[in-house]
């Protein structure tokens, strides 16, 4: 069937992509960013394009917007936007479509707005660019839009600079801007990935509501099957630049055909109502016992009345037994990362006790803590930034232990064993970090933390930057290491689903306090505090209403 007859048969298609092939500049890891991509976005529907990093989903979206960098070119295929062929269209004609026929919102609302312009001016500009309205009418429209996306006090919001707004509010502004000229198609590129789970739920609901109210067609790019289950009418699954499967959301989620789709769906972490089988250990005396820990950040000066006080950690108490994992869960600003930093004494506590092996480390000076530091190790979030690019893996792993007096040969031997244990080839020792993928680097980061034979591992968002399939592997690895070595773990994360996979106990933090603490089964099935209930309800794809598509597929 040719593209032409295809469209005649289906007049309700807003966006039709056929055989789209986009080539990358020479010397990249792939020849094509996208190859033979075909799909239809039907009018009034939400189409989710899902794939892991490097799948070509964002490049495809940028191509439809005509926002490709010069070095990347369309080499074949057709994109028809409301019946117009846009492949080969001149830049000026394309510009006329952007914002008017098709709009786009982006992943990171914190950087997607110009910091030097007011919210109002940026919305105004979207209309001005297409010569729509007078200054007065545009202003009225902007305020109407700000109201429509549910922002409080739209009149005030109009004059506000972006830095005053929270991430969720900024994403609402982005949506208001995208809606300014009532485009028929909205492209959303991971619009909720950078947001907290409760904010994510609100933004998803907003997009769904607006889509339904205006009958817009939405192309929604995501890596999260939970989000797909939440909003999609139909789904396109992409892998390495190719569409491997597409169909209705119900079909793809329930009966995925392609092995890649099945693998992806299986890798999505789910809330488990069943607690983890405890690691058998001889000793049950807690490794770490935290009592009434307090940390308050102060800035400015009390004398000049510019003081700002942020209570980051307030009266936090918990303990972790050997071989157990405590999950610390909370949204941004909840104090979970400050807590992690307090425990390895990157920052000093104001008051409270941190009893490590019975000794209070909170008041210890740096010199006194140094010998204990080896016993508490940290795994970081960003596997790209946390390894020194100029050192070989061997040096990264051995430099610490050697500095603490281990012989060089012994350290190398240990490193070899640990790399093997972390699922890496010991040949990695002589290579540099840039030669490894994100997941492999995180394995190296774990091996590095284990070099000191720590009693306690603190993992701060250790899997947040990874694709789901890699995430699942790293979680398995951590579980196995715990079973092998009996190390205790504090697992800090914003993702309740991940926490439920690996933790024996979960502490939910809000505004610096632990609001609820208990085993996963209690936290997820029978949450005691209102905040925990809200958090659990906000998890995409896990809401109890209706059939459980993702769970059914599992």
């Amino acid at each position: 069937m040719t593209a032409k007859t295809d469209r005649k048969a289906e007049p309700d298609v807003a966006l039709s992509v056929r055989g789209l092939t986009i080539s990358l500049p020479k010397g990249m890891e792939r020849v094509h960013a996208a190859e033979g991509v075909s799909f239809d976005l039907r009018r009034g529907q939400i189409l989710c394009v899902i794939g892991e990093s490097g799948s070509g989903k964002s490049v495809t979206a940028n191509t439809i917007m005509g926002l490709l960098p010069k070095a990347i070119r369309i080499t074949a295929g057709s994109i028809r936007l409301e019946g117009r062929e846009i492949v080969g269209m001149g830049p000026e004609a394309l510009r006329g479509l952007r914002g008017r026929v098709v709009s786009m919102i982006f992943q990171d609302p914190l950087s997607a707005l110009n910091p030097l312009m007011t919210v109002g001016a940026q919305i105004d500009e979207a209309m001005l660019a297409h010569g729509v309205g007078t200054p007065t009418s545009r202003r009225e429209r902007a305020i109407e839009l700000l109201t429509e996306v549910g922002l409080p006090d739209p009149e005030l919001m109009y004059h506000q600079y972006p830095f005053r707004l929270s991430g969720g509010q900024r994403q609402r502004v982005m949506i208001a801007m995208a809606l300014a000229l009532e485009p028929s198609i909205l492209i959303a590129d991971e619009p909720t990935t950078a947001l907290d789970v409760t904010t994510q739920a609100q933004i998803l609901k907003l997009i769904r509501d607006i889509q339904a109210r205006k009958g817009m067609s939405v192309m929604f790019i995501t890596h999260d099957f939970g989000v797909v289950a939440e909003i999609a009418d139909s789904v396109v699954v992409m892998e390495k630049g190719r569409v491997v499967e597409q169909g209705s959301a119900a079909k793809v989620l329930r009966t995925p055909d392609h092995p890649y789709t099945r693998r992806l769906i299986a890798a999505v972490p789910h809330l488990t109502g069943v607690d983890r089988a405890p690691v058998p250990v001889a000793d049950t005396e807690p490794v770490i016992r935290v009592r009434n820990l307090v940390k308050t950040y102060r800035s400015g000066s009390a004398f000049l009345r510019t003081e700002r006080i942020v209570p980051a950690v307030q009266d936090v108490s918990f303990e972790v037994a050997p071989g157990r994992t405590l999950g610390v869960v909370g949204e941004s600003g909840s104090g979970k990362s400050s807590l992690g930093r307090l425990l390895i004494k990157l920052i000093e506590a104001d008051s409270g006790q941190i009893l490590f092996d019975g000794q209070d480390i909170a008041p210890l000076p740096e010199a006194g803590f140094r010998s204990l530091r080896q016993k508490i190790q940290m795994i970081f979030q960003d596997p790209f930034a946390s390894l020194n690019p100029r050192m070989t893996i061997g040096r990264i792993l051995t430099v610490g232990p050697v500095a603490h007096g281990m012989s060089h040969d012994r350290a190398r031997q240990e490193a070899r064993t640990l790399l093997d244990q972390c699922g890496m080839d010991p040949g990695a020792l002589d290579r540099y970090p840039h030669e490894f993928s994100g997941g492999q680097r995180q394995r190296i980061g774990i091996a590095r933390a284990l070099m000191f034979k720590p009693r306690l591992l603190i993992a701060d968002e250790a899997v947040s930057a990874l694709d789901v399939s890699i995430q699942a592997q790293i979680l398995q690895l951590l579980d196995r290491i715990q079973r092998d070595t009996g190390v205790s773990m504090i697992f800090i994360t914003h993702d309740l689903r991940v926490a439920s996979q690996i933790c024996d106990q979960i502490a939910v933090m809000q505004k610096g306090r632990i609001v609820e603490q208990g085993p996963p089964s209690q936290i997820f099935l029978d949450p005691r505090s209102a905040y925990t209930r809200e958090l659990v309800a906000a998890i995409p794809g896990e809401s109890p209403r209706g059939p459980h598509p993702v769970a059914a597929a599992n």
Partner: protein, 316 residues
């Protein structure tokens, strides 16, 4: 903002004291001193020399001299020149205008052209224009200023006879046109180097701004490329440049030693050189303090301007 200003002013005062102590000490480390030039003068007896030293206060210990100088300085008395007995402020005042004329004009040219080259280089990255600008900047930075000055004099004064070879004006002709005529060459030569520096920084800063997410948002709204660059990229790219401009500000008044020498321009750079040659301590110290104050002011003004322009700081 007030707290910030207060803190900065206090820091600046401490800094000025440190600069003055170091300056005074280093100056007195130089062998010879102001009396050395009279040592071989057959007309000067030892008595004359002692009397002169007594008059200038040079026979006292260094620290007494320093405190005496500092105390007068605090009262606004910058001392008198050893060379001609004029107050230091008068001596500096006589040269400041010449330097301001030269440096001011060349800086205006440099900022205007450098900004344009920088933006164009970034928006047309790896184009012929960009490569040419990069190579041009490298050449301008690696060849010393005096070479450009001498070539300019050879071509435009000697061979073509279009422009004067030096001085600020023709004696007996103080018209504006005459000043401008003399200004063209030194100002252009000086601007060459500044254009090179400024365009490189502007290019880097523009590239930073261009890769920001909000630029993509602006394009996604369907703004014209011109408006994207002018409104969203340039504004954000200029922010860090304000700080750079603040660092450059003092040089507008403290002068360019080499260029002023090549073109016999009666500015501050030459005054400094001459005063050093004559060991004219009060003038040298005066110039040192003058540039220290300007440096501090320049940075302070830059910080204030950034705070005024950037809502994240202004309203925080």
């Amino acid at each position: 903002m007030t707290a910030f200003l207060l803190k900065r002013v206090l820091q600046s005062l401490v800094l000025l004291v440190i600069v003055s102590i170091i300056g005074f000490a280093v100056l007195n480390l130089i062998p010879g001193g102001p009396m050395a030039q009279y040592a071989l003068d057959p007309g000067m007896t030892q008595d004359d020399m002692d009397r002169l030293a007594e008059q200038l206060g040079l026979n006292r210990p260094i620290w007494v001299q320093y405190f005496d100088w500092a105390w007068r300085m605090l009262q606004g008395d910058w001392g008198t020149s050893f060379r001609d007995g004029n107050p230091v402020t008068t001596v500096i005042g006589r040269h400041v205008f010449a330097t301001f004329l030269l440096m001011g004009s060349s800086t205006v040219i440099a900022v205007a052209i450098g900004t344009w080259i920088g933006i164009r280089g970034a928006t047309h990255r790896y184009s012929i224009f960009d490569y040419a600008a990069t190579i041009g900047a490298m050449v301008a930075l690696s060849i010393p200023t005096f070479w450009f000055g001498l070539i300019g004099i050879y071509v435009f004064s000697l061979k073509l006879g279009w422009l004067p070879a030096g001085s600020m004006y023709t004696i007996g002709d103080g018209s504006v046109l005459n000043y401008l005529h003399h200004l063209i060459m030194p100002s252009t030569v000086l601007a060459l180097v500044h254009i090179a520096i400024w365009s490189r920084f502007m290019r880097a800063s523009t590239l930073d701004a261009i890769s920001q997410e909000f630029v993509k948002t602006a394009r996604a709204k369907g703004l014209s490329e011109r408006r994207v660059i002018m409104k969203h990229v340039v504004g954000n790219a200029l922010l860090p440049m304000i700080t750079l401009a603040g660092v450059q500000l003092p040089s507008i008044l403290t002068g360019a030693l080499v260029t002023e020498t090549v073109f016999t321009w009666p500015g501050m750079g030459r005054l400094f050189l001459d005063s050093l040659g004559y060991s004219d301590y009060p003038v040298v110290m005066g110039l040192l303090m003058f540039s220290a104050i300007l440096t501090i002011l320049g940075n302070l003004i830059a910080d204030i301007v950034v705070a005024l322009v950037d809502p994240r700081i202004r309203l925080a």
